[in-house]
């Protein structure tokens, strides 16, 4: 096999952390190559080296046998390496078309922008990917998942030799993923080499030809999709056999008291007539396609994007609809979808990030460092947050570990009702199970949980009941045996019920 | 336009423009002008830039020209800067007189006030006398203002007569009276045996505190302006000489001049020297009595 792109003995450390340690492997021309590994294994760092953002301390990259040096993103782009970053890198002030072409605008003579051409090209691209967005929409108005899709579209808009996709699917459901994969395969057919990172193993098997596994900054093997199994790959990734999945407790909670009661919630143009109840000890999932209004509903309940109509009650007491603070005091907690914008404060230490919601909740006046240290350390262990020190800022963490810090923030508050919006986005398989275990434990101790997740297997594994949304309306409820892949997807996409 | 309508007995409207609204002594000019205005039955509009910014002053001046007031009395921040505009006003038939600070090369009809260079010379002479012709002097000024520069030049000029006197420093307080107090303190640190301070503006006598570090037995103090804390400082011996200007006269005389000009009576001279009041502990009571009379409208 012709080795197009080769990493040879690539090493890089950040302070005491060895992010990459002598990584050597190669990617063949025209293949779709997956890169998997636990959170913090070094995947993003490796890809950032390829994209010219991080410089390796040792080792070299080769392209068709020639050494490849990218000392800046611009250089990498010029060499035909396009990348979709794990962290959102949108221009909130530009339109969707402006975002797609930022830095590589289509121009007429003299550097004048050819708006019409860019508009048309954007439109075509969005249609191919089935992204229901107008090219003129300001980027800041898009929800996280659509914004992620637009960035994928951005990478597809240009002819590059190597396309790098670092966790592009974290908040997409299978439907959007399918559209994306179709495009990626088309690119492959045109000879493009694709590097793909994901924590969703089934997805990896669906798309990729070969799979390279990384562990603790080291290369842990490359597998042919044809000849390997998910279990083998996961074992190579974590170094042991993963724990078994939880099975949902089923609908044994019908007698339990209702903790969260939502009646007739509506917001013009977004969603309408959403009524639901979550009982004590229950995990209810809200499933739907991207843009179906799930995040809107959660934020409306929490009060950060207030609804126009409807009521929310926690343990029978009405909650004010327009104040996050009131919601928090009533016992609601929301783990938001967008960890960079809504979840983390990058100027503060990880410890402070984790401790703040809890301190606000219990109304502490003084900062109790001792107590917080023990709380934070417990979270760190429970979620297996891979960090040299909780005193460092979150920007030194890998994406998945950042997400774990976000989850820790709210798990530490032990609320009455936990609202989760994509809580395990970008989290590796092992940690995902840990988080599920923690949620289960808290719920069994009396909490109620309403969860939004685009990861259908996760929803099926964790939820007692599944509410399906489409175009801002609840389409139905599935529980127990009726909750199957097919049934859920049919409700989420089916036209007949409309 | 109707602005020059002479048929109706229209009340005359004169503009009084100070260098800046935030310099306290100009209020006396306004007081004097308003009083005279009332006596003469004319309207006096007091307007100026809020800081001593020549450009903003020019804008105000031009604005009065387009408003076609009947006369303008202005204390000029920057003579060359305003020259052409003053000329334009005069050419347009609006008489202009200057007060406090002149624009000698312009077509202004008259100037009422003290020649800043001369006033500076007086300060230099007084310092020479106080120091008996030998010792060191430090100046306090605010860089950028032409009239202050002229006073400074005047003082330095007359100090040349005293070969035993040397100027150690010229401090720039940037129109900030707190900065002035700080510099007096710092300067005293640096030159503990300083012979005399000469301040070409009134900042040091806005408060009694600014002169705290000055030891009168070693260091003499001469300042422009007689406002607020000045008399008390003279009495306590911290200050030896203050130069008072004809604050009320700036306003009242200018308005009288304008009124005469409009009624066809040209002033006798282009430069009407108001003279300065050299206030020392000896004549302080006399001066204060006079000042009070002026203030209460006598």
């Amino acid at each position: 096999m012709a080795s197009e792109l080769a990493f040879r003995d690539v090493s890089r450390s950040f302070g005491a952390v060895k992010a990459l340690d002598g990584v050597t492997f190669s990617v063949a021309e025209g293949e779709i190559h997956a890169l998997i590994g636990e959170n913090g294994a070094g995947k993003s760092t490796l890809l950032k080296i390829l994209a010219g953002i991080v410089q390796p301390e040792r080792g070299q990259l080769f392209w068709r046998g020639e050494p490849l040096v990218c000392s800046s993103p611009r250089q990498a782009l010029e060499r035909g390496i396009g990348m979709v970053y794990q962290e959102m890198l949108a221009f909130p002030n530009l339109t969707v078309a402006g975002n797609i072409f930022a830095g590589r605008e289509i121009t007429k003579t003299g550097g004048r922008l050819d708006e019409r051409a860019m508009h048309a090209r954007t439109k075509a691209l969005l249609d191919e990917l089935h992204i229901p967005v107008s090219p003129d929409t300001p980027m800041e108005q898009l929800p996280a998942a659509l914004s992620q899709l637009v960035q994928v579209a951005r990478a597809l808009a240009f002819d590059c030799k190597v396309l790098v996709l670092d966790e592009p699917t974290t908040s997409l459901t299978d439907v959007e993923v399918d559209h994306l994969f179709r495009e990626v395969r088309a690119l492959k057919a045109r000879g493009m080499t694709v590097l793909f990172v994901s924590h969703r193993i089934p997805e990896v098997f669906r798309l990729c030809d070969r799979i390279t596994v990384m562990r603790d900054g080291k290369y842990a093997g490359t597998f042919d999709r044809e000849t390997t199994t998910p279990d083998t790959v996961v074992r190579a990734m974590v170094g042991r056999t993963p724990p078994p999945r939880l099975t949902p407790a089923g609908s044994a909670h019908v007698q339990a008291p209702v903790r969260l009661e939502v009646r007739g919630l509506g917001k013009r143009g977004r969603f309408s007539d959403v009524s639901l109840a979550v009982r004590k000890g229950e995990v209810v999932a809200l499933f739907g396609l991207v843009g179906s209004g799930r995040s809107d509903v959660l934020e409306a309940i929490f009060g950060t994007r207030p609804a126009d109509t409807g009521t929310v009650e926690v343990d029978g007491a009405a909650v004010r609809l327009n104040s996050a603070r009131a919601a928090a005091q009533a016992g609601l907690s929301l783990v938001p979808e967008d960890r960079q914008r809504q979840g983390l404060c990058f100027a503060l230490s990880q410890r402070d990030n984790i401790a703040i919601p809890r301190a606000e909740k219990i109304g502490a006046a003084r900062v109790n460092r001792l107590e917080e240290t023990s709380v934070c350390d417990a979270q760190r262990q429970g979620l297996n947050i891979k960090t040299p020190s909780l005193d460092s800022t979150p920007d030194t963490l890998s994406g998945g570990n950042q997400q774990k810090v976000v989850a820790a923030k709210w798990l530490a508050t032990s609320p009455k009702v936990l609202l989760l919006d994509e809580p395990t986005k970008g989290v590796d398989v092992g940690a995902k199970f840990e988080i599920h275990g923690i949620i289960r434990r808290e719920v069994d101790a009396g909490m109620a949980c309403l969860m939004v997740s685009s990861d259908l297997p996760e929803v099926l594994a964790l939820a007692d009941r599944i509410l399906v949304m489409r175009e801002g309306r609840l389409q139905g409820e599935l529980a127990g045996a009726t909750a199957t892949d097919d049934a859920v997807m049919r409700l989420a996409t089916h036209e007949a019920t409309a | 336009g109707g602005g020059t309508d002479t048929a109706a007995p229209k009340k005359l409207r004169f503009a009084l423009i100070p260098k800046s609204l935030d310099i306290p002594v100009f209020n006396y000019a306004n007081a004097g002008a308003q009083r005279t205005g009332k006596e003469l039955g004319v309207e006096v509009v007091y307007r100026g830039p809020d800081t001593a910014d020549p450009l903003k002053q020019k804008e105000v001046l031009e604005s009065f020209i387009t408003q076609k007031v009947d006369g303008i009395a202005i204390s000029v921040t920057n003579a060359e800067f305003l020259k052409s505009t003053i000329d334009r006003a005069v050419d347009a038939g609006i008489p202009v007189v200057t007060w406090d600070s002149d624009a000698p090369t312009s077509k202004r009809i008259a100037f009422y006030g003290v020649d800043d260079f001369r006033a500076g010379q007086i300060m230099g002479d007084e310092a020479g006398k106080l120091l008996n012709g030998k010792g060191t002097v430090a100046f306090i000024t605010s860089l950028g203002a032409n009239n202050l520069q002229n006073r400074l030049d005047g003082a330095k000029d007359s100090l040349k007569k005293f070969p035993g006197i040397s100027v150690v420093e010229t401090y720039d307080i940037k129109e900030d009276s707190v900065r002035c107090a700080e510099l007096i303190a710092t300067g005293t640190q640096r030159y503990p045996n300083l012979g005399a301070w000469i301040s070409v503006g009134g900042w040091p006598v806005f408060t009694q505190r600014a002169l705290d570090p000055v030891k009168p037995e070693k260091t003499k103090f001469i300042s422009f302006d007689t406002v607020e804390a000045g008399p008390a400082l003279l009495r306590s011996g911290k200050v030896q000489v203050l130069l008072g200007q004809k604050y009320f006269g700036w306003g009242s005389e200018s308005i009288k001049l304008l009124n005469d000009i409009v009624h066809g009576k040209m002033p006798s001279a282009k430069i009407i020297d108001s003279g300065v009041d050299i206030v020392t502990p000896a004549n302080l009571d006399e001066y204060l009595a006079l000042f009070k009379k002026m203030e209460s409208g006598g």
Binding site: I53, R74, F91, R104 | T66, N78, E80, G144
Partner: protein
């Protein structure tokens, strides 16, 4: 193409119009006669003085759109007037040559700011604050706190191609505003400025030469400030180090009132000029109100707030 009332500048224009209407009404001469505010001479006056802020505000808007800030324009205006004055009056150069020397001041000054921000990585606020002190200081050192009188070497009542030199400022302001508006809206470079201000990291990762964009932005801002300084020196006839002291805040305020957001990525060059006119009308009209002498500052403060509130309401509405 968006309809005109959707344009970001529309609300600023509306506010300016309201302001003019208000003063026209308020200052209506009681006994008939000429209107002291609503007349051509007075409009030229407003334009002439606004242009000093407005030209520099074009640069400030671009700087702010790029997510930066520049506190130096006031000092650059002052130093430019000094340098132009020096070469014209002292060194005896021809006026065009002296003007070019003045413009070079701005280019150089912008380059220094850019160097500190881009190469050394200083925060823009503090870097340009230091730079502001330096240029003011240089002006004082050159002049020793005196000034150059250009006016006496220039023709009285000077007309160029039949147009009074008083019109120079307004004409240059409008030309620059339109030119840079066009540049910012229809050229790749302008788009890059918006991108850098919107998300610097993303811009870098998109292959935009962020450092180069920022450098050019500061150089343009410096150049425009010195255009303003040259206009000041020539039209007003003086070169003095302390000219335009404190104007940096007024210039930034013009840009902000015109829609620039200090968080970067948003703003309008045309809006900045309109903002300068809004302040210019205030500076012109307030002194015409009898008895308001000591109220000026307060009124300006209140008006700034009212304008921004109105703008916010207008823009919100037009978005909905």
């Amino acid at each position: 193409m968006k309809p005109i009332w959707r344009a970001r500048e529309f609300s600023t224009i509306l506010i300016l119009a309201l302001e003019v209407l208000f003063f026209t009404w308020y200052l209506w001469p009681a006994g008939g006669g000429a209107h002291p505010f609503l007349n051509l001479d007075n409009f030229l006056l407003v334009l002439k003085y606004s242009s000093i802020y407005g030209i520099a505000a074009v640069g400030a808007a671009i700087v702010i759109i790029a997510g930066l800030i520049d506190l130096a324009p006031g000092a650059i205006i002052g130093l430019t007037s000094v340098v132009t004055g020096y070469f014209f009056v002292e060194a005896g150069w021809s006026l065009p040559a002296a003007m070019i020397a003045g413009l070079l001041v701005g280019v150089l000054a912008g380059g220094v700011s850019a160097f500190l921000v881009v190469k050394i990585g200083l925060p823009p606020f503090i870097a340009t604050l230091g730079v502001m002190g330096i240029w003011r200081g240089v002006g004082f050192i050159v002049t020793e706190a005196r000034f150059y009188d250009l006016s006496s070497k220039l023709p009285q009542d000077w007309h160029v191609a039949g147009v009074s030199v008083d019109w120079a400022g307004p004409i240059i302001m409008v030309a620059l505003a339109l030119g840079f508006h066009w540049l910012m809206r229809t050229f790749q470079w302008g788009r890059a400025v918006f991108a850098v201000g919107g998300n610097e990291t993303a811009a870098l990762f998109s292959g935009i030469r962020v450092g180069r964009v920022k450098t050019l932005v500061y150089i343009i801002a410096g150049l425009l400030a010195s255009v303003s300084g040259v206009v000041l020196a020539v039209v007003q006839g003086q070169g003095k180090a302390d000219l335009a002291t404190g104007y940096e805040l007024d210039i930034i305020a013009s840009a902000v009132v015109g829609g620039a957001s200090l968080t970067g990525g948003r703003g309008s060059v045309l809006g900045a000029v309109l903002g300068a006119l809004i302040f210019g009308v205030l500076r012109n009209a307030l002194p015409q109100i009898p008895g308001a002498t000591f109220y000026d500052r307060m009124i300006v403060g209140v008006v700034v707030i009212v304008i921004v509130v109105m703008d916010q309401m207008l823009v919100k509405r037009s978005r909905a």
